[in-house]
Symmetry: C2
Subunit: 198 residues, 2 copies
Amino acid sequence: MTRQAAVRGRPRSEKAEKAIIGAALDLIGEGTSVSELSIEAVAARAGVGKTTIYRRWTNKEDLVGDALATLKAPLPALAGRSVREDLIVYLDVMRQDSRTLRTRCIMNIAMSEPERHPRLYERFRQSVIEPRRCALQAVLERGRASGELREDLDVELAMAMLSGTMMWHTKWASDLDPLPDDLAARIVDEALLGFRAR
Amino acid sequence: MTRQAAVRGRPRSEKAEKAIIGAALDLIGEGTSVSELSIEAVAARAGVGKTTIYRRWTNKEDLVGDALATLKAPLPALAGRSVREDLIVYLDVMRQDSRTLRTRCIMNIAMSEPERHPRLYERFRQSVIEPRRCALQAVLERGRASGELREDLDVELAMAMLSGTMMWHTKWASDLDPLPDDLAARIVDEALLGFRAR
DNA sequence: GAGTTTCGCTACGGGAGCGTATCGCAAGAT
DNA sequence: ATCTTGCGATACGCTCCCGTAGCGAAACTC
């Protein structure tokens, strides 16, 4: 994997690499779409020559892909004590994420550019969406098995209801009027009225 | 309102105007974002000189605003026979809309460019979002008054759950795998399990 | 110290789109 | 017939960005 023969010249600057990725994320976080993102702007923001960028990435998508990959927020640990508790933790992470600029920006990319940058989207889906989706699914399946939830609950639909409701809020929330702290709990409690076995 | 003094020269071609708006909608529908949309491309697509566009609209946002305004889909008529029926009609319109290209494109604008084009977004919100939002709210309030729904139902949250769940589906639906016909009914029935008075 | 590679910087030719101006023709009012 | 305005077309100078090349300095290995 690593160097088998000694590297001969000046090594590539790790600092420059991080500056480039950081600059790209900053720009995207400020609302620049992937298509609008220019290498020149990234280089200027990073305090780096364009050459340094082209030497590492052959196209914009690869750069953005690597940049987004560094953001993969850790999956929240779900204690598994109760479905309600796990769901609240899960949704509250979404709520908190919606307040940070960078997460908003990757949401924008994920939401609005799937068909425009399919490879980028696919990569993002596998590294970020799919694991979370599985975690949520597991919580609901577990609840169904334990009897906390209805036997005939449509898990796919339930996932869409939970995520969709929080997503709806995060999309329409303004910066001035952030989402209330107990939003996750209120969503989960309302949803569980229907999900629960009775 | 109209001409008080006679119009002196050659009148503006209504045909050209429609061609311009149509071209703009086509391009946006094909995935061009508002920022990427170029006047030159619109003019070329419409078979029109750039001058003809600049004579009517001073900036891109006004043009796109007028274009989107022509799309305002009619609010679905809600019969008012039952909450369940009204909600299904309401959500099913969302589902059907998600299959037409132009509706998808205005959704993209509404979802991803609110901060980038605030005036455009505001206009869209008032002409499209707000009326629908009011209609949905009215259905739920009516249901609460009639006893079909819980007295203590959080109407705002219920609206987010219904719309958010359908929106979630429309966002992740692929063209190959369209949303099932009974999706609206399934969402409503699942939600009503919690919303209903018991 | 010699050799090699990367560094930030500047400059290049080229393409795309901007918004404006000007053309000769078209379409109406007077 | 004359006047006025809109029409499509073309061209202009401008800005932004592309991707590449060359510069001298810097950072390593040998």
